[in-house]
Symmetry: C2
Subunit: 572 residues, 2 copies
Amino acid sequence: MRASRFFISTLKEAPSDAEIVSHQLMMRAGMIKRLGSGIYTYMPTGLRIIRKVENIIREEMNKAGAIELLMPLVQPAELWQETGRWDKMGPELMRVKDRHGREFAIQPTSEEVVTDVVRSELKSYRQLPINFYHIQTKFRDERRPRFGLMRGREFTMKDAYSFDRDVEGMQKSYATMFEAYTKIFTRFGLKFRAVAADNGAIGGTGSHEFHVIASTGEDALVYCPTSSYAANIEAAEALASGERAAPTQELTKTSTPGKTKCEAVAELLDIPLQHHVKSIALTVEAEGKKTYFLLLLRADHELNEIKVNKVPGLKEFRFSTEAEIGEAYGTVPGYLGPINTKLPVTVVADRTVANMADFVCGANEADYHYVGANWGRDCAEPLVADLRNVVEGDPSPDGKGVLAIERGIEVGHVFQLGTAYSEAMGATFLDEAGKPAPLQMGCYGIGVTRILGAAIEQNFDDKGIVWPDAIAPFELVLCPMGLDRSEMVREHTEQLYADLQAAGIDVIVDDRGLRPGAMFADWELIGVPHRIVIGERGLKEGNLEYQGRRDEAATSVPVDGMVAFIKGKLGK
Amino acid sequence: MRASRFFISTLKEAPSDAEIVSHQLMMRAGMIKRLGSGIYTYMPTGLRIIRKVENIIREEMNKAGAIELLMPLVQPAELWQETGRWDKMGPELMRVKDRHGREFAIQPTSEEVVTDVVRSELKSYRQLPINFYHIQTKFRDERRPRFGLMRGREFTMKDAYSFDRDVEGMQKSYATMFEAYTKIFTRFGLKFRAVAADNGAIGGTGSHEFHVIASTGEDALVYCPTSSYAANIEAAEALASGERAAPTQELTKTSTPGKTKCEAVAELLDIPLQHHVKSIALTVEAEGKKTYFLLLLRADHELNEIKVNKVPGLKEFRFSTEAEIGEAYGTVPGYLGPINTKLPVTVVADRTVANMADFVCGANEADYHYVGANWGRDCAEPLVADLRNVVEGDPSPDGKGVLAIERGIEVGHVFQLGTAYSEAMGATFLDEAGKPAPLQMGCYGIGVTRILGAAIEQNFDDKGIVWPDAIAPFELVLCPMGLDRSEMVREHTEQLYADLQAAGIDVIVDDRGLRPGAMFADWELIGVPHRIVIGERGLKEGNLEYQGRRDEAATSVPVDGMVAFIKGKLGK
């Protein structure tokens, strides 16, 4: 490519609505252009990256035996009604009526359509397993689109759907996709981590997320550096730390006037925060009747609501109101505890709390806390459950070390769906006995356009983006010095350009005639990972200057050896 | 590709709603699957063809200097309001509201968005010319979607937009695109014709359509076999045939009771139809005042309403009502003519009619016609205009022969738009003097998915589709006989498959284990252009059987020479 025949448009400053680095740099590098809230034109440089991402995905999906098709963007409401998602999905499902008043969804994903294809096309177990995928524009009408391509409304996604005859087959298909995803993210040249995830609303029996590691990531990833354990914070199991000691203190009601937060009580009493218990009052209403639950966490731990949902009886909990707290505990928020509640409440202690002795908790009386509280002695033994987010240093659930936490950006997700969709839509196959059975389904997504944002969040410096070779808009840029006045530079540039292209290198030559400073700044901002400077001074000594995007200084390389040198750098 | 890892699903019968051959064959061959009216899933075989079509387009667009980007599907109404198309376009523009009630269009084309990109990105004449294109899903809410991919609602289009500093530049960009289109359609391996077109509602100064030639085509294409003249029927200029002779007959009012059609009058009077004149009464209303026009055509010719629109004063015509005919001509429909009208009307004669002598026309009196009518003698000389469709044998407008007509399917269109969009949207650049000037624009479309339908309408037989090599889903199919029982067949198949792949041939091996008849029928229906049969009998003599899709019989080819033979067939 010649820069003079390409479109490069860089900015000194990012627009003010670009809050995060990747959004700022993509705008400044001219890779995307905002058309509306969460809707972007992919400019030529950005599109080149998207195509490289798509091609790597496509190659690995094909190698893994998945078959590409292309499902429509505009999908009839009737299909979405069959699975109930037409009603279940909120306003993020973009709905549209045609000229005859018939309703359609603009696809956010394609479970319904692929299940519809399969229920009419697949008849026999002999056609299984099968995995269909497409790479297609998606629309999700986000309440608050932001962060550029990270949380846009219109975006590109690869979504794949596997169909199997039984659970074992589905798990095999799932494992194949897991492996393909690992290859895909490895080929991108990004640091990533696959973590076990909670299946959440989509149902099914197993799921993993693939995250690009970045300190700016929205998600906390839990892993064990000495084993293969990894899960997102929602799914990571928190074990108790330590064992319960015998009581050594008397239960003492202590005045803590105005101290409603554990941190304030700890400071007042000069007792470390780890000895305090935080009480969270919940209400569950069913058939007009209220039941009260009191959750207990160590004061320095965080509640995990997804785990709370899994405690028997707490699927539909809400936080208690002040009036309810008064009724159940006879006090005001800030002074609750498991001892001497006004009404009987179900006390659920986090595993760590259940192992505590001589702890501090609210006294169910305004301006008072108990010190030296102990299970069994001062109140009944509580129900015990995993209620909290893990923290660094917690024991790994696999018993093979302690947990660490890092931040990530979710770019892929694999799900074992089971028969949720196939049963709702009557997608069956005939087994060997000629009997119809529902298809076992898996689904597998990669956020194609989101990869760009995530890759940048992981790879940038104060000059701009630093693309990994595999997904860079160009692998290499040639920067000739004084192209308009030096015949020698011109000739060597053309020759090198031709030789590099012949060697299969994706090279752009900057023939725009800019000053060196402006030229270098553009390519550093855009993030092309390799650069060759062609200047008369070097040429007279038979040399060119090579500099990697992360290199501190340039390296002199003989003209004759440059193509081989670059091939070496690119591993080609 | 191995057929066992691909998805092939053929049908004996097409669904009853498939009216035309290409729709029937695409459904039977399992290339598309209907999701809703005018909305199709592109199944794996169909998608392969689409990708090949897209890649050829992309390569040639890039070679011609156009730059690919990707504009959004969901576009804010505000942009469409700037050009007035939000109101001008009818219900075929699919409109949607987001969760905040803001209005959007699902793009049918992208003139507004590209002009918006350009008005903020292009500043100087130095950045011109530039040509941006994208290949993207489009939606047009057709009143009556039909013919499969030929007139669908959701479809894929390549649309390109050129921007120039002046008309001369625009015409050059246009010529470059015309040439690129010629290369693209040539590479598809389709018989096609570029014809001059009327610019119609879109405005501007010049346009051509690219048609795939097919006897089933909706459009009539006019061309001169002995010159380069070609135009669509709407735009082809109809010259007068012959010169006006001197009158030889007296004007005679003749009784023609009940004969309101020229054909009936001709039969009654035994005068050839070519001597009759057909009268068409028009009304133009402006500021509450009605003006009457009488158009005259030779009885065997057809009115061309687009040409009528261009006659001064007739931009906003309608056909006269019976009451208006009574008022202006004093008679009823079927007996109108230019002689002795009741009110003065403007008579506009087609060029051919203006050259007629001794003609038959209505007498402006029920049940009577004039025979032997002559211009100048019996009524005033008429205004003369080109009002009709050309017919085979008409003189070519370039004076280099006579015209022929064939049928075509429009698959591409190039337009000189001028400044219509740039002026409406304030898209200017600074010229050398630093003065802002509106950009001169061109636009260029190719209906990607429509190409599939058009290619099939041109290339099929009673067994199925016959794809040209360049856009076939696979170039070649290997059909091994008895793969499960012959070690010799298995080994040769694997070796040949590997050798063909290494030679860069897009080959599929049918390892499904079907009977030969069923196997051959599938590939003939799908339309793979080349086939090799691998059987024990031939192998024992060192031969394989080759058959081209249009060949009547197979050819024996030595095993060792087969790869070279196929490369020869494919011109590789």
